[in-house]
C-alpha cells in the first residue's frame, strides 16, 4: 500500500486545480464538495499509509516522486518519507483539515470569494503535506515556504477590510481599511526572519554533512557523536530561529495574534492546529542533532517556557474572543517547544495532537459564536464589534451546542482530568519535573515553574472567556438576538469535541500507544514515566485557575459592555501592561520598524530622490545628455553634415541644369545623329583594333 503514498499529495493538488479551473462555473455546494473530497481523499491515503506501516514492521518507507536537484554533491529528490512521525502529522493535517473544510463550507457561505478560499485551503494542505512528508530538508523548506505563502494569502483573505492604519506614518496618506492586508504582510515578513535561520541551518548541514536527506544527516551525527557537538549546537540554534518564526515563539511571536484577521477556519486550521506546529515537527525531525547539543536544548526549552508564560499572561487581559485564543495558542506552542527542548519529543507531539483537537474546536466554536452574534447584529442593525467579548454574554441558552463544545474545549485546554489536555500537558510537566528534580538541571526547574504558572493562567483565562461569552445577561442587542449556527458548522464541532475528550487515550500512562508508535522513527522518542505528584499539582493548579476565574468573574458578573475588567482592581497597572501585550509590538515598533522606516524614507528621499534623481540624474546624466545632443545637432549635424549635402546637391544642380540640359534639344534628328556617331565610334574602335 506504500505505492499509494504519492496520492496523499495528488488529492489536494487535484482539488486546487479543479477549483482553480472550474470554480467560477460551480456553485458553493460543488466547490465545497471538491475541497472537502480532496482533503478527505488525502486522509484516506494517510490512513492506508499508517496501516501499511503497522503491517510492515513500522520501517520507514521512501517513495520517490521525481528527481529534482542533482548538482555535484547535492542530490535532492522529490521523495516522500513514510514513517511513524510523518504519518502522524499527515493524519493530523488531513483529519483536522477535513473537519475544518466541512465547517468552512458553512462558515464561508455567501462570501464573494468562496472558490478562492477553498483553493487556498487545499493549497495549504498540499504545502503542509510536502512539509511533513518530505524526505529531505529542502522539501521540508519548500513546504515550509508554501504554508507561509498560504498563511499570508489567507490572513489577508479579506484584504479590503480591517482596521485603518493607526497612524499615517507611511507615506503621508492614511491607509484606510487595509488592516487585514497589513496583518498578512506582518506575518509574512516576521516569518521570513525565521526562514532565514532555517536556510542558514540547511546551508550548514549541507556544508558539513554533504546531504540534506534526513537519513544521511541522522547517520552522520550518530557516527560523529559528541565530536560533532559544536556543529550540532550551531545548526540547532539556527533551526530554533526558524522554529521561533513558524511556531510563534519569543521573539518572533508577534505575527500570530494579528493573523486572526483571517477567516476563523483559517485561524483554526493554520494558526492553531497545523502550520504553527511545523516548528515542533522540525525539532522532532532533527532530534538527532538536538540530542548532541545540550545548550540548544536548554535554550529551546527556556524559549518555549518563557513564551508559554508570557503569552498566557497576555491572554488574561484581552477582550477579542479570537485574540485570547491566539495568545493561548502561542502559550500552548510554548509548552510543546519546551517539551521537545527537554527531550520529551513524544510529550511534545502528544500535546501537538491534543492541542490540534481542542484548539481547532475552540477556534471553530469561537467562529460559531461570532457568526451568531453577527446574525444578531444584522437583525437588530446594531453596530458592535462582533468579536468583542464585552458585548456578548448569556449566549449559553441561545447557542447550546456551541456552548457545550466550547466548554469541553476549554476544560481540555485548561488540563482538567480526564480530558485530552490533561494527559498531554501533564506529560510535558512531568518531563520538566524529571529534568529539574531528578536530573538536577536548574533550567528544568525554571521551565517547570514557568509552565505551571502558564497552566494556571490558562485555566484562568479560559474560565474568564467562558463566563464573559456564555454566562450572565446579554450586554448588547446583538448578543440578545444571536442564534445557533447551521448543522454544517456544528457537526465538525461535535466530532472535535469527542476527540478533545478522548484524545488522551492516544498516550495514556501505562499504554503509551503514541510513544511506541513514534519510537520506530527514533529510538530515543520515549515517553517519560507518569508522575502522580506532578499530575496532582497540575490538577490543583487547573482547579485553582478555574476557581479564581469563578470567584472573580462569575460572582461579580460584568453588567455593561464598557465596565472595567474584574481583574483590573487586583492587578492595577499590571493589567494595562498585560492588556498592552507587554508592549512588545510597541517595542519592535520603536526599535525596529520605525528606525527601519525612517532609514528607508531617508534613503528614498535623501539618497534616491534628492541625490540620485535631482542631483546625479538631473544635473549629471540628463544635463550631460542634453549637452551632447546639442553638440551633435548643432555643430555636427547642422554645420558639417547639412552643409556637405547642400553643397553636393548644389553641384549636381549646376551641372545638370546649366550644362547637360542643352543636350536635350528635343529634335529626333539630334538623337539619331547621336546614335550614328556612337555606332561610328564603336566601329572605328573595332576597325582600328583589327588593323
Amino acid at each position: 500500500m506504500f505505492e499509494l503514498a504519492p496520492l496523499v499529495l495528488a488529492f489536494p493538488i487535484a482539488g486546487v486545480l479543479l477549483n482553480l479551473l472550474f470554480g467560477r462555473y460551480l456553485n458553493e455546494r460543488w466547490i465545497s464538495i471538491i475541497g472537502v473530497a480532496a482533503v478527505g481523499g488525502a486522509f484516506g491515503v494517510a490512513v492506508l499509509q499508517a496501516l501499511a506501516l503497522a503491517g510492515s514492521g513500522y520501517h520507514a518507507h521512501l517513495a520517490l516522486l521525481a528527481n529534482w536537484i542533482e548538482v555535484g554533491q547535492l542530490q535532492a529528490p522529490w521523495q516522500l518519507r513514510v514513517d511513524t512521525l510523518s504519518v502522524t502529522m499527515m493524519l493530523l493535517v488531513t483529519g483536522v483539515g477535513m473537519l475544518i473544510h466541512i465547517y468552512a463550507s458553512g462558515y464561508m457561505h455567501g462570501d464573494a470569494r468562496f472558490a478562492r478560499f477553498f483553493i487556498y485551503l487545499n493549497l495549504f494542505i498540499t504545502a503542509m503535506l510536502v512539509l511533513v512528508g518530505g524526505d529531505n530538508y529542502l522539501m521540508l523548506f519548500v513546504g515550509w515556504e508554501g504554508v507561509g505563502l498560504c498563511s499570508f494569502l489567507l490572513i489577508g483573505f479579506w484584504y479590503d477590510a480591517g482596521e485603518p492604519s493607526a497612524s499615517a506614518r507611511v507615506g503621508g496618506e492614511p491607509q484606510a481599511g487595509a488592516g487585514n492586508a497589513r496583518a498578512g504582510r506582518k506575518a509574512f515578513v516576521v516569518n521570513r526572519i525565521g526562514d532565514f535561520g532555517l536556510l542558514l541551518a540547511m546551508f550548514m548541514i549541507f556544508w558539513r554533512v554533504g546531504s540534506l536527506q534526513f537519513d544521511a544527516v541522522a547517520d552522520y551525527f550518530s557516527v560523529q557523536g559528541a565530536a560533532a557537538g559544536g556543529l550540532a549546537t550551531v545548526i540547532t540554534l539556527l533551526l530554533l530561529v526558524g522554529v521561533c518564526g513558524k511556531s510563534a515563539q519569543i521573539p518572533l511571536f508577534v505575527w500570530l495574534p494579528d493573523a486572526m484577521a483571517g477567516p476563523t477556519p483559517v485561524s483554526a486550521l493554520i494558526h492553531a492546529a497545523t502550520m504553527v506546529t511545523a516548528g515542533i515537527y522540525l525539532v522532532a525531525r532533527s532530534a538527532v542533532m538536538f540530542e548532541l547539543a545540550p545548550v540548544s536544548q536548554m535554550v529551546v526549552a527556556l524559549v518555549g517556557a518563557t513564551t508559554a508564560f508570557m503569552a498566557g499572561t497576555i491572554a488574561l487581559a484581552q477582550y477579542d474572543i479570537k485574540r485570547v485564543l491566539a495568545y493561548s495558542t502561542i502559550s500552548q506552542l510554548g509548552f510543546m517547544v519546551a517539551a521537545v527542548g527537554l527531550g520529551g519529543y513524544v510529550a511534545g507531539m502528544f500535546h501537538l495532537l491534543t492541542h490540534a483537537f481542542f484548539k481547532a474546536l475552540l477556534f471553530l466554536s469561537a467562529g460559531s459564536v461570532i457568526h451568531g452574534v453577527e446574525h444578531g447584529a444584522h437583525a437588530t442593525h446594531a453596530h458592535v464589534d462582533v468579536q468583542d467579548m464585552r458585548v456578548m454574554g448569556g449566549l449559553r441558552s441561545k447557542m447550546p451546542v456551541t456552548f457545550w463544545v466550547y466548554l469541553i474545549g476549554a476544560l481540555a485546554l485548561a488540563g482538567v482530568f480526564p480530558l485530552a489536555g490533561f494527559w498531554s500537558k501533564d506529560e510535558i510537566l512531568a518531563d520538566a519535573w524529571h529534568v529539574g528534580m531528578v536530573e538536577g538541571h536548574w533550567h528544568g526547574v525554571l521551565v517547570y515553574v514557568l509552565l505551571a504558572l502558564a497552566a494556571l493562567s490558562t485555566a484562568l483565562y479560559m474560565t474568564r472567556q467562558i463566563i464573559l461569552v456564555f454566562f450572565g445577561a446579554p450586554r448588547s442587542e446583538a448578543a440578545a438576538h444571536a442564534h445557533e449556527s447551521a448543522p454544517l458548522m456544528t457537526a465538525p464541532l461535535v466530532v472535535l469535541a469527542l476527540l478533545s475528550v478522548l484524545g488522551g487515550l492516544l498516550n495514556l500512562p501505562g499504554w503509551h500507544a503514541l510513544g511506541t508508535w513514534l519510537e520506530h522513527t527514533h529510538e530515543f522518542f520515549q515517553t517519560g514515566a507518569f508522575n502522580a505528584l506532578v499530575a496532582g499539582i497540575s490538577t490543583l493548579v487547573a482547579l485553582a485557575g478555574i476557581g479564581l476565574g469563578y470567584r472573580v468573574y462569575f460572582l461579580a458578573p460584568r453588567t455593561t459592555a464598557d465596565a472595567a475588567d474584574a481583574l483590573q482592581p487586583a492587578l492595577g497597572p499590571m493589567f494595562g501592561f498585560l492588556r498592552g501585550k507587554w508592549f512588545v509590538d510597541e517595542l519592535y515598533d520603536a526599535v525596529i520598524v520605525r528606525p527601519f522606516e525612517r532609514g528607508a524614507r531617508s534613503l528614498a528621499f535623501a539618497l534616491d530622490w534628492n541625490f540620485w534623481h535631482d542631483g546625479f540624474h538631473n544635473s549629471v546624466l540628463a544635463a550631460g545628455f542634453r549637452m551632447l545632443a546639442a553638440f551633435l545637432s548643432g555643430p555636427v549635424d547642422k554645420t558639417v553634415i547639412d552643409r556637405l549635402f547642400d553643397a553636393l546637391a548644389g553641384a549636381v544642380r549646376v551641372v545638370g541644369s546649366r550644362n547637360l540640359q542643352r543636350l536635350q534639344t528635343g529634335y529626333v534628328r539630334n538623337y539619331a545623329l547621336g546614335v550614328v556617331l556612337g555606332v561610328v565610334a564603336v566601329m572605328g574602335y573595332f576597325v582600328s583594333r583589327s588593323i
Partner: protein, 100 residues
C-alpha cells in the same frame, strides 16, 4: 557570277542613303521610308552572304527582318496618324516637347 563585293557595295550605298535620309529629312513619312531602306540594305547583304556561303541562314534572317519591318510599319504609321491628329503636322522639327 557577279562577285559578292558588288552586292556589299550596293548594300552599303543603300544603307548610307537611308541613314542620311533619317538624319536630314523632316517629314516623318520620309524618315520612315529611309528606315525601310536601311533594313533592306541589310537584307541585301544577308542574301548576298547566303549565296556566297551556300547556306540558308541568311535568307531565314531576311524573313525575320521583313516580319519585324512589317510590324514596325504598322506601329509607326499608327503613331504618325496619332501625331498628325493632335498637332496637324508630321514635321519632326516641330516635335520637340522633350527639350530640356
Amino acid at each position: 557570277m557577279i562577285p559578292v563585293n558588288y552586292y556589299l557595295a550596293l548594300s552599303a550605298v543603300l544603307f548610307g542613303i537611308g541613314a542620311l535620309g533619317v538624319l536630314v529629312r523632316r517629314n516623318a513619312l520620309v524618315i520612315f521610308m529611309s528606315i525601310e531602306l536601311m533594313l533592306n540594305a541589310a537584307n541585301v547583304a544577308f542574301v548576298a552572304f547566303s549565296r556566297q556561303f551556300g547556306e540558308l541562314d541568311g535568307q531565314i534572317m531576311v524573313l525575320f527582318v521583313l516580319t519585324v519591318a512589317a510590324a514596325e510599319v504598322a506601329v509607326g504609321l499608327a503613331m504618325i496618324v496619332a501625331i498628325f491628329r493632335t498637332r496637324a503636322s508630321i514635321n519632326v522639327d516641330e516635335l520637340n516637347l522633350l527639350r530640356g
